[in-house]
Amino acid sequence: MVQIALLAAMVPLAACSWMFSPETSLPGRHPFDLGEGRALCGECHEGRIKGVGKPFASFSHSPEFVRNHRLRAARDEQVCVLCHHGSFCNDCHAGKTEIKPSVKLGNRPDRELIHRGDYVSLHMIDGKSDPTSCYRCHGRANNEKCAACHRGGGRR
């Protein structure tokens, strides 16, 4: 059944192969394990990533990159998966989870993880100063714990 579904999808794609870019795809994985610590792509690579067109240095994991990786991941996921499996992202970004990332990874204080320490007290201030920062993860999913107290109304 799956083979039939894949074939059904492939037939029209093959018939229209002239419509696709002739450029070779990025490899599925980086050719070797990069080890621990933040990756600095620009340290080994110069120029631009073929097929993506952006400089290697643009993906070096500086503090700025870590803070704003969402803007890059939304455009160039095929670069992220060169080194990261999806489970790495799902340490924080999951539709449903119940262990805080900083507790699940309490042995990794070097990772930039959200809600460290007593966030129950802090969320009341952060939530009022920038509710959109809560919304990204808890807006349409992963809000079972929030709803236990916030049953509607009364907040600004």
Partner: protein
């Protein structure tokens, strides 16, 4: 439809198992036992020992070498008192999909449960995703399927999402200088709600279907300058929901200067969230954040950063500023850092009307990671300008110690202790068994 989809997914994975034995395989497992006790005057004492298993596996280079399977999920069972909700056991299948990559055009077909993150679109889907680069710098990605539902909202038999969705992104790249994208998502009609208060949300135009359109840009006019961001438009409320833009300037190889601007219109952004629509009183608010960050890598061992952010809402304003220093010593085996930030906030952002919303945040950590053992200590404190629940601070210290039984298998334990406005003493512990194996030696173990 969903039952059939699950059956199909199971069939995919069962069929793939023999081939998976020959494939490039990665396994990522964490078994976590948490221990805590809730002892409060006037309440029954409770002991919590939830056991949680996270398991992920990736089977790559199947078939002709371009086919792969990916799955990840977790399950929890309470060994003592119920720890979280009304269920002693819980779990979730986070993703499970088969993927076929083509040798050219960065083509990709995904089938199963997956996250889609394209332009302004962030969705969790049971369905199909197809993506390819096209000639002349164009590219396309499209997806469709059933919405992945989460836990029902209190008093409802729905999470507020429609049952199906389609969407995608079309982009254009020009000579490594420019990328423009348009993206959108169309979800089927939002479900009817049971509770009168929630029905009122829908009737008053605070809650409805999830339908967004947007554009995104990446611009690299000079090797030192990079601009990126996106804007989204809510087709249901007919209003702009979000602008989010970032400017990076790299005057030196190891110096990054960043400026950011974000603007959100609450009603347009939160419209399809039954939880947020009911949570906020004033959905006509317009939030804006502006900020900057400078980070400099002194050498391969020391990294310094300083940041500032200004928050503006109709109910008040706040500023957050501070800095961090990170060290990576002994060939990255010893990693440590310190940080300090201060949030200066209007009274309207405070926990209670009589309190202040301002607080200091200080953190220090160190970890030593060797082939045989690893240890970490992490201390974080929030110091309030005015007391919350008669407490001037909330702090927590966590210690972690572990040993590698094999290069892939590790056993570790964490203990944390703190005091905060919620608890006189807050002590927790956990035991963690992790197995992270990459049988290919490529990419990363995660």
């Amino acid at each position: 439809m969903k039952k059939n989809l699950y059956r199909l997914l199971s069939a995919v994975f069962l069929m793939a198992l023999p081939a998976a034995a020959l494939a490039d395989t990665s396994v990522d497992s964490a078994t976590i036992f948490r221990f805590s006790q809730d002892s409060r005057p006037g309440f029954q004492k409770k002991d919590f020992t939830p056991a949680t298993q996270f398991l992920g596996a990736d089977f790559e280079k199947l078939g002709d070498g371009n086919l792969s399977l990916h799955l990840y999920g977790w399950g929890r069972y309470d060994l003592a008192d119920k720890s979280y909700n009304n269920d002693r056991a819980d779990g979730a299948l986070t993703y499970a999909y088969a993927q076929y990559r083509t040798d050219q055009a960065n083509g990709l077909i995904r089938f199963g449960r997956f996250f889609i993150n394209e332009g302004i679109v962030n969705e969790h889907v049971d369905g199909l995703n197809v993506r390819s680069d096209l000639p002349l710098g164009f590219g396309i990605s499209a997806f469709g399927g059933a919405t992945v539902h989460t836990v029902h909202m209190p008093g409802e038999i729905t999470d507020g999402k429609g049952d199906g969705l389609v969407g995608g992104r079309l982009h254009y790249r020009y000579k490594g200088m420019l990328e423009l994208g348009v993206s959108g998502v169309y979800e089927s009609d939002a479900p009817a709600l049971n509770q009168a208060s929630n029905q009122q949300l829908a009737a008053s135009g605070r809650f409805g279907s999830h339908r967004l359109l947007g554009g995104d840009v990446w611009l690299n006019p000079h090797r030192m300058v990079e601009i990126m961001g996106h804007s989204s438009y809510n087709a249901e409320t007919e209003g702009v929901a979000e602008h989010s833009y970032l400017l990076n300037v790299k005057p030196l190889k190891d110096l990054v200067l960043t400026g950011e601007f974000n603007e959100y219109r609450d009603r347009d952004l939160f419209f399809s969230s039954i939880f947020f629509a009911g949570l906020l009183d004033n959905l006509n608010d317009r939030s804006r954040t502006m900020g900057g960050r400078a980070s400099y890598e002194l050498n391969r061992m020391v990294e310094i950063s300083g940041d500032f952010k200004h928050f503006t809402r109709e109910i008040g304003k706040a500023d957050r500023f501070g800095g961090d220093i990170r060290f990576a010593l002994l060939d990255k085996a010893l990693r440590t850092g310190v940080g300090y930030h201060y949030l200066r906030a209007s009274r309207n952002f405070a926990v209670a009307p009589s309190a202040s919303g301002s607080f200091h945040e200080a953190r220090a950590y160190a970890m030593h990671d060797t082939k045989s053992y690893f240890a970490a200590v992490d201390a974080i404190g929030y110091f309030f300008k005015e007391n919350i629940n008669n407490k001037s601070s909330a702090w927590e210290v966590t210690g972690s110690l572990g040993c590698r039984l094999t290069p892939a298998l590790a056993l570790s334990g964490d203990v944390s202790y703190g005091k905060n406005p919620q608890f006189v003493d807050d002590m927790k512990g956990l035991i963690r068994l992790t197995y992270n194996m990459n049988y290919t030696g490529k990419g990363g173990t995660k």
